[in-house]
Amino acid sequence: MTTRWNIRWGAVGTYLSFAVFTFIVLLPVYWMLRSAFSLASDLTKVPLIYFPNPTLKNFQTLIGEVPFLQYTLNSLIFALSTTLVTLVVGFIAAYAFARIRVPGSEVILWILLLTMALPDVGTIVPLYQILKNLHLIDTISGITLVMSSTLAPFTVWVLISFIKQIPYEIEEAAILDGASLPQILWHILIPVTMPGLVTMGLINFINAWNNLLYPLSFNNSPASKTLSVAITEIYGGYSPYGKPWELIMAVGVAMTIPTVILIIFSQKAIVRGLVGGAIK
């Protein structure tokens, strides 16, 4: 009897929490979508219009008035090249930490991971000077370099655990067959660590795509600005109705769509990576 009641109340509680959870998570998302696909004039009416006539006008305005496509391309190049650099650099380092026994390697790994605790903003001033000296200020290469470095330790950490799961015998057999290291990495290890690489690739892509601090601090010409910088500039702009919220939300939606699509299609891979970092 009691268990029956427990189950019923438990189910009610579960569905109630599910409803509250869904409402809180999706409310800001609904509000952004509603504003991004609405005419500016529909956003400033009282009583509020919950579902204005959908329009793509804001995106047309963005393409016409700001170099929106250029910014999108910049964001894409930045995120993709950061992903590539972190995967290459992270994978070879992770292989060394996982497979080559060298005294002191644990200390080196520990130092590498310790640098993850540094807040990005704490070194922003010297980074500005370094990029300036290297003539990388206001370039996509510059922010790619800095962002790759920021993401490298976590990438190494997660990839180590993926490589360690692979039985050493596979490589051993290849070594005995006289395969060279590049051959082993390319033909044997990369195919079997593919899930780990995909996971970290997705996480790093999303992190770079979403990053604001570095492009905002270092890049200010249209040729190198990212969408995250563009949205702050549109927020600073004016319109007859005050802040141009329909445009701000349109950029916001444009920035969010790629990441949400990645999540819907690869939720499990992403979770595996996020968790892989926290749980051994």
């Binding site: 579960t14 569905y15 929490s17 599910f18 959870f21 809180i24 999706l26 409310l27 800001p28 998302v29 952004m32 504003s35 400033t44 009282v46 009583p47 509020l48 290459v88 070879i92 380092a93 292989y95 060394a96 080559i100 060298v102 080196i108 590498l112 640098t115 605790a117 540094l118 807040p119 903003v121 070194t123 922003i124 001033v125 010297p126 980074l127 000077q129 800095v146 490298a152 330790p153 979403n210 604001l212 601090l213 905002l216 601090s217 949205i231 702050t232 927020y235 919220w245 701000i248 939300m249 950029v251 916001g252 920035m255 969010t256 949400v260 990645l262 939720q267 996020l274 926290a278 749980i279």
Partner: protein, 311 residues
């Protein structure tokens, strides 16, 4: 010495030289493979930290064209700088409240996602949305959601109560909003990690506890909580450290206002260093931020040692 010894042995034990060659090759290989990641971190983390500390003792300023050693003057200025003072106090407030909020809400979401109900797959997927929304976009999204003229929440409150709230004028309200927005953005990530932790607790422990007559509540407090405590502490620490340097959400939501009520250290560093080119002064503020990180790190290590539980 070693080379000599090796040379002596060579005729008798050729296998040892080839072994030492192998070991040397192994070292070389290790260094080669780790070097790119390590050098990247030295160039853009270790060296800049060193530079930050040094420049904190200078009046390096691109606009005023000054760059000389001034000892602790920057730190004296900071002591009297109202903006930095407010930033320090709100940073501490934000970091503590949003971390505790993240852990509690993250745990609640994890418990929800761990229980079985129709729509669980959907719940798990949308749980990742706040994590995936770019922080700056979330900042503007909440700003617009709470807009005093045409925002949805103030509109609902007015409809329900007749009272018209203005969110970003009242300092305490603005601070609360910034903290809640941080929790909205980051608690789902905590939930993902906690969920994996919950799933990692062996089921037979629960069965044993049930047999012993422990009810669900008791099982949660006596079994689940102690078992995932190390994970909670680890996540809490990372969260504390990360949120110390958090910048995007405040930049989008309030820009530090009203007044300096929601200003954070990261914003002060950005303003002084990148907007005003006061490199020396911004570096000194960065040093304060780094000190906070160091203190929390040491405190955390001590705490972590005390929470490891085995069953």
């Amino acid at each position: 010495m070693q080379a000599k010894a090796e040379a002596k042995r060579k005729p008798f034990l050729p296998s040892i030289t080839s072994l030492s060659k192998l070991i040397r090759r192994r070292y070389l290989l290790f260094v080669l493979l780790v070097a790119p990641a390590f050098l990247l971190r030295i160039a853009t983390a270790a060296y800049p930290i060193f530079q930050t500390i040094l420049q904190g003792f200078t009046n390096f300023d691109v606009i005023d064209n000054t760059n000389s050693f001034i000892g602790f003057n920057n730190y004296q200025t900071i002591m009297g700088d109202f903006q930095v003072q407010s930033a320090v106090s709100f940073t501490v407030l934000l970091v503590i409240f949003s971390t505790v909020g993240d852990l509690v809400v993250g745990m609640l979401i994890a418990l929800l996602l761990d229980s079985s109900f129709r729509g669980r797959g959907f719940a798990r997927t949308i749980n990742l949305i706040p994590w995936a929304v770019p922080t700056i976009v979330a900042g503007y999204g909440f700003r617009w959601l709470l807009d005093d003229q045409f925002g949805l929440l103030p509109y609902w409150i007015t409809q329900l109560t007749g009272y018209h709230p203005v969110a970003f004028i009242n300092p305490t309200l603005a601070q609360t909003i910034v903290i809640l927005a941080h929790i909205w953005k980051d608690a789902p990530f905590m939930a993902v990690v906690f969920l994996a932790g919950l799933q990692g607790v062996p089921m037979d422990l629960y069965d044993a506890a049930r047999v012993d007559g422990a009810n669900a509540w008791l099982r949660f407090w006596r079994l689940t909580i102690p078992l995932i405590m190390p994970l909670t502490v680890t996540m809490g620490l990372f969260r504390l450290v990360w949120s110390l340097g958090s910048f995007d959400l405040v930049y989008g939501l309030t820009q530090g206002g009203p007044g300096e009520a929601t200003s954070v250290l990261a914003l002060q560093i950005f303003r002084n260093g990148i907007m005003f080119f006061k490199f020396g002064y911004a570096s000194a503020i960065s040093v304060i931020l780094l000190l906070f990180v160091a203190v929390i790190g040491l405190f955390g290590l001590a705490l972590f040692r005390r929470t490891e539980v085995t069953y």
